[in-house]
Symmetry: C2
Subunit: 144 residues, 2 copies
Amino acid sequence: MFSKSCEYGIKATLFIAQKSQWDERVSLKEISSAIDSPVAFTAKILQILSKAGIVDSTKGPNGGFDIDKSRLSKINLKQIVVAIDGNSVFEGCALGLSVCNENEPCPLHGKFVSIRNQLNETLTSSNLLNVAMDLNLGLTVLKH
Amino acid sequence: MFSKSCEYGIKATLFIAQKSQWDERVSLKEISSAIDSPVAFTAKILQILSKAGIVDSTKGPNGGFDIDKSRLSKINLKQIVVAIDGNSVFEGCALGLSVCNENEPCPLHGKFVSIRNQLNETLTSSNLLNVAMDLNLGLTVLKH
DNA sequence: TCAATTTCGGATAAAAAGGTCTTTATATCT
DNA sequence: AGATATAAAGACCTTTTTATCCGAAATTGA
């Protein structure tokens, strides 16, 4: 469904979001430890997220990553997926055809419309504040 | 969503299914031409499908691949996906956690339940006869 | 026997995932 | 203000996985 980069990207963003609720900034090391991901690889993904304007980064002592508290409810999970994996999971053909639309559909095209819609709706309506709340309450976890 | 192998596997099986309706057997070359896939790679995928009992193969002159007409309505798309990609798309954690269940869910676990169910239902209820019919009628295509 | 066709083992290529080291920015401490 | 330590950014390299290709062996109808 998602690439490894994207999985790490989502988990990293959620961890940053959770800490940002209390105005805490977290370092790369803290992040990869919290989400159990390779440090250097995570760094690269955070660069993408930073350039996409999803997270803010600060260099130097006490530096790290954070997200302005006021933006938490305005950022949704789809934005993260699109920033890292592009929109192929939302729009690409399930059978890999370069052309696949209503006029010339692959055998799965019609059957996947509602699945796609639901995936889209689910990720669009999940904003960082909501999802971080569940983490706060211990209802969900970022690593085993 | 699916690996390239799986995409080719589905398309190949559908093409074989379509021809098998009229008791036609098709060769590897015909298949990869019809679905626009690399010949040698397609051969390997057909071996998997053959071993999984989804398609039948015949060596020698006039050999090739086919599916017993009477089984067309009994084989569904999920079987193909599972044979090639395994069941990770149906059961694996969306964020890649090795442990992710109702008791200890990742932040996406609950949100993906219905998407998973729908994917499962869609692929399980799509049998080869149904899908091949749409191809016959020209309602869908296997290549652009 | 011969030609057609799948099977099978491995080789190669490309892409994704992960790692190392150097550079750059910046707080903090003399 | 300058030196220093800290932490991200960036360039490059290695490993692993996925995708693709090749050639020889096995099977079988004619």
